[in-house]
């Protein structure tokens, strides 16, 4: 009796690869992403777009908690409450990318017949990589200027920073703490300390959207209170999301002197930094004759060149207040380079040094009573290393899909013709 050889067992690596590249996993991930996208879309009815994006699409895990209207009726009593745990967008897209690379490219048979699919997968892969790069290494903000004004910094839309200021004669020296370092201040206290500082800053009660209120006998503060030297107590009131009036972040700071342990407390409120805002007034305190300041502000980033607004023009459709076009003529001054004039208008951005400037909006001066000129121009700025990749990805995907489906159509038509001629012969 001869022994029957045992079937060759697949190696662990091969098994893992087979599992990871499974097309069934692809289907599950696609459906999960579909459910998550649906949930994230509905969530934007009560969350700001940026919050929905962070909670649903940039997270590892999310609980979809929403009321789904039945029959289109919005009354709460007619809505179905849904609470579903879901993997977040980051998790799903990461798994999808691995599945795509392993199953759709590496393990896929590189035949002429499959070429269209492979090209499509490469295009989708490029798109996912572009999204990953953008999420981790891009910055967005704006430069808002009146005619004649110039700037070398962009102001972030959503990110904040805490600036520690110190007056040295006529100069002000800055040290900056990014908001990411203050995450713990949402539910506790974050201490900022340094050997060179004569004090410690304790940050607490961080709120993403809030407004300052005066505390008093009729207004019981829900969170930390800062009391001024004259006895005025201020606290921050959390605001629900309002798409027409997006709120500003705020926190309470307590400065504890290293010597003597004297305390200075205040609430900081991160107002915007557009040209319509009044000059910034940081919270200031003096220790040993040195004036210090704390300023919660939208994050500032240096630009690789200076931008000066030479002219801004807004035209309306005749007889209406609906803008037909708005555009900015700017002068770009690079270090050591010749200044150059650039026209930025809707759908025609300026691209230079990995930065893209878009004509985003405009606003009237405070003096014009929110109506007529002079206007300031809002140029949105994006610093995204993967800026152009999606465009190339779209061409690659289109090429792949057309290749695959047109080839398939021709094969089908050919087989139909052969079948028909075969039937005719028989």
């Amino acid at each position: 009796m001869t022994a029957v050889p045992a079937p060759a067992e697949r190696s662990t690596v091969a098994s893992v690869l087979a599992a990871v590249s499974s097309m069934r996993i692809t289907v599950v991930l696609l459906l999960l992403l579909g459910v998550l996208t649906f949930a994230g879309t509905l969530a934007q009815e009560h969350l700001s777009p940026i919050d929905a994006q962070r909670e649903y699409f940039e997270s590892g895990f999310v609980v979809w908690d929403t009321k789904v209207p039945l029959f289109g009726i919005r009354n709460a009593s007619d809505a179905l409450t849904v609470k579903v745990p879901l993997p977040g967008g980051y998790t799903i897209l990461l798994l999808l990318f691995v599945n795509l690379v392993v199953g759709g490219v590496v393990r896929h048979r590189w035949t002429k017949r499959n070429l269209g699919i492979l090209v499509t997968h490469l295009g989708i892969g490029l798109l996912l990589v572009a999204g990953f790069v953008k999420m981790h290494w891009s910055h967005q903000g704006h430069v808002s200027l009146f005619e004649g004004a110039s700037s070398r910094t962009m102001v972030s839309f959503h990110e904040y920073e805490l600036a520690l200021l110190r007056r040295e004669g006529d100069d002000i020296v800055e040290r900056v703490v990014p908001a990411t370092a203050l995450e713990g201040a949402r539910h506790g206290t974050v201490k900022i300390t340094d050997a060179s500082l004569p004090f410690t800053v304790e940050v607490s009660g961080w709120l993403d959207s809030c407004q300052p209120r005066l505390a008093g006998p009729m207004m019981k503060p829900p969170g930390p209170v800062a009391t001024d030297a004259d006895g005025t107590s201020v606290f921050l009131e959390s605001l629900p999301y309002d798409k027409d009036a997006p709120g500003f972040a705020g926190c309470r700071v307590n400065v504890v002197e290293r010597v003597g342990l004297a305390e200075h407390s205040a609430v900081l409120f991160g107002l915007g930094s557009g040209p319509r805002q009044n000059p910034r007034q940081p919270y200031t305190f003096t220790i040993d004759g040195v004036q210090w300041g704390l300023d919660l502000r939208h994050e500032l980033r240096d630009l690789p060149f200076e931008v000066k607004l030479d002219k801004f023009e807004k035209t309306d459709h005749p007889g209406t207040a609906n803008p037909r076009d708005f555009s900015s003529w700017v002068t770009v001054r690079e270090q050591g380079g010749e200044p150059r004039q650039v026209h930025i208008y809707m759908n025609h951005p300026l691209r230079s040094h990995d930065h893209v400037f878009f004509q985003a909006s405009w606003g009237p001066s405070p003096q014009s009573g929110m109506q007529g000129p002079p206007f300031f121009s809002v140029l949105e700025v994006a610093n995204n290393p993967s800026d152009a990749w999606p465009k190339y990805a779209s061409y690659v995907v289109l090429l792949g899909l057309l290749w695959h489906f047109v080839a398939k159509l021709f094969r089908f038509l050919k087989s139909s013709t052969n079948r028909a001629s075969g039937e005719a012969v028989s």
Binding site: M23, R24, T26, V27, L30, L31, L33, G34, T37, F38, G40, T41, L42, Q44, E45, P49, A52, Q53, Y56, F57, F71, G72, R74, L127, A130, G131, K134, Q140, K243, H317, P318, G319, T320, N322, P323, R324, D325, F326, M346, N347, H348, P349, F358, A360, E380, V381, D387, P390, K391, A393, S394, V397, L398, L401, L402, F405, K408, L409, F412, S416
Partner: protein, 663 residues
Amino acid sequence: MKWLVAMASLAGFLGAQDDGNVARRIVRQPWNPAVVAAMESLPIQDGGRVKPLAALAAATLHLVHGRRDMKLDTDGDGRADVTLTPTEWLLDAWCFPEQAADYPLFRIENVEVLDAIGIVHEGGQRFDFEYLTYRQLGQKGRLAEVPGAALLRLASQYRKKSAQERTPVEAHLVDTAEQVQTYDALHRYLVPLSSAFQIEGDEFQKRLGGKKEMWLSELMQYGDALRTALKEYEQKSTAPEIGNLFGIASDLSDVVQSDHAMPALFPPDGTRAEHEEWSGLGALVSSGLGNHASSTQIAMLEQLQAAIGATDQTARERAFVKFRDMVVARATERGEFAKVAQEAGYLRANWAYQSLHYFLLALVVVAAGWAMPRVRAVWWAGIVATVLPLGMLVWDIVLRCIIRSRPPIVNLYDTFLFIAAVLVATAVVLELISKRRVAIALAPIAGALLITLARAFEVEDGKDQMAPLQAVLDTNYYLATHVTSINTGYSAGMLASLLGTVWLLMQATGFRRGDVALHKAIVRATYGVTAFSLTFNVFGTIYGGVWANDSWGRFWGWDPKENGALLICLAQVALMHARMCGWVRDFGYCTFAALTGIVVTFSWFHVNLLGIGLHSYGFASSTKVALFTYYWIEAGVVALCVAAILLRHFVGAGRKAAAPASA
């Protein structure tokens, strides 16, 4: 001041004392059709563009009346015997405001709205609509205040709530108030031209050349005299010798401020580059009082005044035609009339509506093809009968492109026409390939349905469907690439859904069960159309991101519209992968393809209703009701078919299992 009295009685709801239940018989003078045709192409500037009067009349009637025409019962028998076109209705409102106040205008769909504003009604919820007249709003109702005043008060109160928070009755009240205010402003607009101003007081008459009455076009040329008199008598406003000087000054001030959201009727001198904005009545009176109105514009005003103020219909019509000819001549010199004439012709021809009839005819021919499957000529007749209305629909789209100098899709209304055309064209091509008479049967049904929906949406929306674009959309390149691509994907997605549904229905009902080739052909067609749709959806979605990257500074922002497009891509890619890995076969594939129609509809339309994101528009609730109706019908049909198919499968399997035992 006859016109002031008219304004007070019609617009000032508070002065009314009549009994609201007394129906007034409508007596109206018909318009000469040739004059109406001429006035339809009268160029006006409204909403940021120069367009024919017919376009303004149609959009306004859609908004305030919820219909495309106005039906009147002039003989009092309770049935409509006269139908007014939008232009006839608008001319009536401008020339005969007293008469137009008795037209059944404002559609009320819920008796609770009538109760809320105190209108007396028969009681009980009706199944049809009730139309209120403008006069009824100013007559005494069941409440202390007249219904019009109650309506405006309540609407102002409910506007403070967000659209999502309003109950259906509150939303209805807000909408009705908007309709009433729109109509009120429009029909009062030309009232100052309907009669002469009476000049009272010896000194006042002396300063105005000794005249005792004066028409607006004449009065506005006495700006200096009026200003001097007002200054001199500033402290003696009740002096008898200046009579109604201050009253007339106040009236003129009202006229000057009456232009807001009203059409500008008087083209300016000079070229378009020099002066793009036309003058409304208020602007013209203002420049007349300041002694810088152009003589051409004053001449136009005199003709319009002669038309509005005429007591004889023939004289009125003659003056209207003269006014129209003057405006057309000026607009032609400025290079603004050619497109107005094209648009007037487009509105008159109404190719999309014409194609609707031919699609229905095509359906009959295609049905004949099913009855006579062996007659090839009938099959070809079905193809030709479908291609004919398709050509009309395409011509409609082409005309819209020419008039606007834009790609086919600029707004949501365009999407209906485009999707209908692409869907029908795809179905015809599919039929020519497959020759199974299924795709060609779907084509006229889908075409007719989508055009009907387009017409319903146009009325529901109540807006100018050729309005100028907002700045960010002003790019023909991306409108031509991203927008047409994604809508091609939508249309093919809808066709795939229809084909999947047909396959399920055939399986569930056992229709042509023995014809395996037919069933297989439908599955193949569903697959092919899904692939076609996917190609355009994926490219369109990614290219939409490329556009967003150029205009908003980010490729992807998880905006609801972007998410909707992504959902279609995900659904279709998941479907194809599920088929490739063997998770679904014909049954599963067609079931999910059918349900993909819901995803397509959600992306195409529903995301715009959420009122969030950069693509939000906002619609009346009936659009939402229509969407949910479709969702439930599609899901219900699929569920019933799936249940029937599974039942048939298990019963059949049981019988097969039982057969050997009994044998």
